[in-house]
Amino acid sequence: MEPSALPPQGGPERPRRRGRLRTLLILPLAALALAGCTVPRFGASPGATTSSKSVFHLWQGFSIGAAIIGTLVVVLIAWSVLFHRRRSEAIPRQTQYHIPLELTYTIVPILIVLGLFAATMVVENREVANPKTNVVIDVNAFQWGWKFTYPGHNVVVVGQTTQDPTMVMPVDQNVRIDLTSSDVVHGFYVHAFNFSRYALPGVLNQFTLRATSTGLFNGQCTQLCGLYHSLMFFRVRVVSAGQYQSWLASQANATAAQAAQSATSQQISSIVPTKQTKG
């Protein structure tokens, strides 16, 4: 930007002001991130990935704003409602406009919204980035189950509905998920990762997960996909790098047999109590 090309009043002032604005927005956020543990959780939890933690902090930031603004508005409503019950036939002052006030409650919300947007962008850019990695898992959703393929390792895990197919992934490594669907839209959702993404037919959706702790987590399909949508579970097992390698090796042998077993060979009605099927 060349300040000299701009009209005098807009020139040298502007970049500095914008910079100041940015620090103004980022500072409370940074403070919040540091104080993460003492700030209330507002119903959410930090989760088990790096992204889930930043989402959690963003959640806290939004919630603090929501609490302040919500309280302010409720107090204003309560004050005007509680203390102005009609007691007489007197007619109150017929005030209709107060331009400075109206401008204030237009401009202040715009600033708040820009702040929320800035915070959103910081977290979002981190979350949707796909850094280079050599741990890749192909996740394929189908009616009604999941298939996890480990390219280059000859490992496939398939399971329907309540069989709880389990995706195994290493901790502290970037794991890229290549998500697809073979029929209708499904939703890949792991609550502990604070994250979901659609599995769309005809679209390859890629995202990166970096787990920060080991453990077994519940996953579930969140996008309505037909009759057994309520039962389309899976699990994610996060293990150490060493365990991951030995798991891959042990599975590679068994996979030949597993792959032969077609995804739809097993009758769903034998898994689900017949009572639940439509008569």
Partner: protein, 561 residues
């Protein structure tokens, strides 16, 4: 200037209704906007009761983790038809077909809608469409079961064969045309039939909001109509617009649906915003605070609402996140302006806690919760976290239950004008408390369930028995809402022709309170001079004109400047 504009009263026996058909035939052939509006009102309330009954079955099923009240298949039909009936057959038609039809022409001093026969056609298309959609329950295979959004390719003939789905598409097409015709009619009425003196900036906020609603209808609904025809063609004529196998693009459906669907949110909401604005002003005995700012906010909401549809598609991974995020966040600004204007209207007023006013205050609080949680969802990372969980269900139920509160306020407020009789206030207040508290007891646990990871559209949750406790509270809230609906029906029956209303029971501001209750065939025998957006008030309280803050002189002379 208190001259009253006289309209010649029709000569005895000259009115064409004197020769026309009587009884049921008269109702079938009527083109009177008040009769059509009343038919709309009754039909929409019946739809609300039907949709509410489905909701109660849903909540009963979810009261335990392995509910066996309905099967998995029936559950899918139930929430699909609950959502469809509530949005397509209750909220929309109630918003722009029911009270709007009756009140908008009267508020601008017009004798009827611009195209009375088209208006009648709108109603009959709506009724036919509603019956078509609901008849899905009586065909083999049951009603539509792909959710109210009918995502492709689940809505294809491969994944969802059966005529229930076709009846859903057909019913929606019919009600869609009904909406488009009403949109045309409202625009024409507001632009061409305003009484002398009724300039655009003297129109009541309710009428303004319906004008913006009508414009949004004309921009959005044709897209839905086109999408439904494509969907039907894919199902039956061998096209492959939404199927991957034939080279189509399933996400296209989501884009089309939400390009209609988000403006639809405001098509539903703006009329209720308008109702609440009128109610708050009248029962606070003050002019609408920031009248022009309010109109500006409505126009801004209308414009922005056309550019935010993909916030429903953040998790598809196929949309430009920052653009749709900032556009969605920005909608909070004009909405916030409205909230502060409502508060400003009540500020230092003389508030009369009628049932209508209580409903309006209930609307403010409930809508505040729905609006604030909506801001979270406009942030993509937070949407990735909560999308398709009960957090979203809770968010939009805070919004739609606020609309129900607004609708009830509108019925208590304008009911006396339409029928000539008041509803019982004591039963009305009981109804309010059940509805208002029930709504919070119903939605708050659902927010928490969403944050604990419960996805929506689950018939059972056998893996998570710990979710039962919160689900039970939500069910308790749903029962309270059901009780409030029963109280409403009881009130209508109890108050039937019991309390004559008079022409102006609330000391109203706008023209409908100047004519008789119910208004005569062409609405007015006489009109007051129209010098501001409150002609009836100005006529009754000439010494209490609206003031600019800090000035002793009236703000409004000529235009409401």
């Amino acid at each position: 200037m208190t001259d009253v504009l006289e309209r010649p009263a029709p000569a005895e026996g000259h009115g064409h209704e004197a020769h026309g058909p009587t009884g049921i035939l008269k109702w079938l052939t009527t083109t009177d906007h008040k009769v059509i509006g009343l038919s709309y009102t009754v039909t929409a309330v019946v739809m609300m009761v039907i949709g509410g009954a489905f909701a109660e079955i849903i909540r009963a099923q979810l009261a335990s983790p392995n509910g066996t009240l309905v099967s998995l298949a029936q559950y899918n039909e139930l929430f699909t038809m609950h959502g469809s009936v509530m949005i397509y057959l209750f909220a929309g038609p109630f918003a722009f077909g029911a009270l709007a039809n009756i009140i908008v022409p009267i508020q601008i001093g017009a004798p009827d809608m611009a195209f009375p026969r088209l208006n009648a056609l709108s109603y009959w298309l709506y009724l036919t469409g509603s019956i078509t959609m609901l008849s899905g329950f009586f065909v083999a295979g049951g009603a539509a079961n792909f959710g109210w959004v009918a995502y492709a390719p689940l809505s294809s003939s491969v994944a969802t064969p059966g005529s229930g789905a076709d009846l859903w598409i057909g019913g929606l097409l019919l009600t869609g045309f009904s909406a488009i015709f009403t949109g045309v009619n409202l625009c024409a009425t507001v632009f061409y039939l305003r009484a002398p003196g009724m300039t655009m900036f003297r129109m009541p906020i309710f009428t303004w909001n319906l004008l913006v609603t009508a414009i949004l209808i004309l921009l959005a609904f044709p897209v839905l109509t086109a999408g439904l025809i494509m969907l039907y063609a894919d199902r039956h004529f061998g096209t492959h617009i939404f199927s991957v196998a034939g080279g189509g693009v399933p996400v296209l459906w989501q884009n089309i649906f939400w390009f209609w669907g988000h403006p639809e949110v405001y098509i539903l909401a703006l009329p209720f915003f308008g109702m609440v604005t009128e109610i708050i002003a009248v029962f606070s005995r003050k002019p609408v605070f920031g009248y022009k700012g309010m109109i500006f906010a409505t126009l801004t909401i209308g414009a922005l609402s056309l550019g935010v549809w993909a916030h429903h598609m953040f998790t598809t991974g196929t949309v430009l996140l920052p653009f749709f995020s900032i556009m969605s966040l920005l909608i909070a600004v004009p909405t916030g302006i409205k909230m502060f204007n409502w508060i400003g209207t009540m500020w230092r007023g003389q508030i009369w806690f009628s049932t209508a006013m209580l409903m309006a205050i209930g609307f403010l609080i409930t809508f505040l919760v729905g609006g604030i949680t909506g801001i979270y969802l406009a942030s993509p990372p937070l949407d990735f976290f909560t999308h398709d969980t009960y957090f979203v269900v809770a968010h939009f139920h805070s919004v739609v239950m606020a609309l129900v509160l607004g609708a009830m306020g509108g019925l208590y407020y304008w009911g006396p004008k339409i029928t000539g009789y008041m509803l019982n206030e004591r039963i009305g207040k009981a109804q309010f408390w059940f509805l208002f508290i029930g709504t919070q007891v119903f939605t708050l646990p659902m927010y928490l369930l969403g944050l604990r990871g419960m996805p929506r559209r689950m018939a059972i949750y056998p893996q998570h028995p710990s979710w039962q406790y919160l689900n039970d509270w939500a069910t308790v809230g749903a029962i309270m809402i059901g009780v409030s609906t029963i109280l409403f029906i009881v009130n209508i029956v109890y108050s039937w022709k019991r309390y004559p209303a008079g022409d102006n029971p609330w000391d109203g501001h706008t023209l409908e309170w100047f004519t008789t209750s119910p208004p005569p065939h062409h609405n007015f025998y006489r009109l007051p001079p129209i010098r501001s957006e409150r002609p009836t008030w100005d006529y009754n309280h000439p010494e209490h004109r609206a003031l600019e803050h800090g000035h002793g002189t009236p703000a409004a002379d000529g235009s409401a400047r």
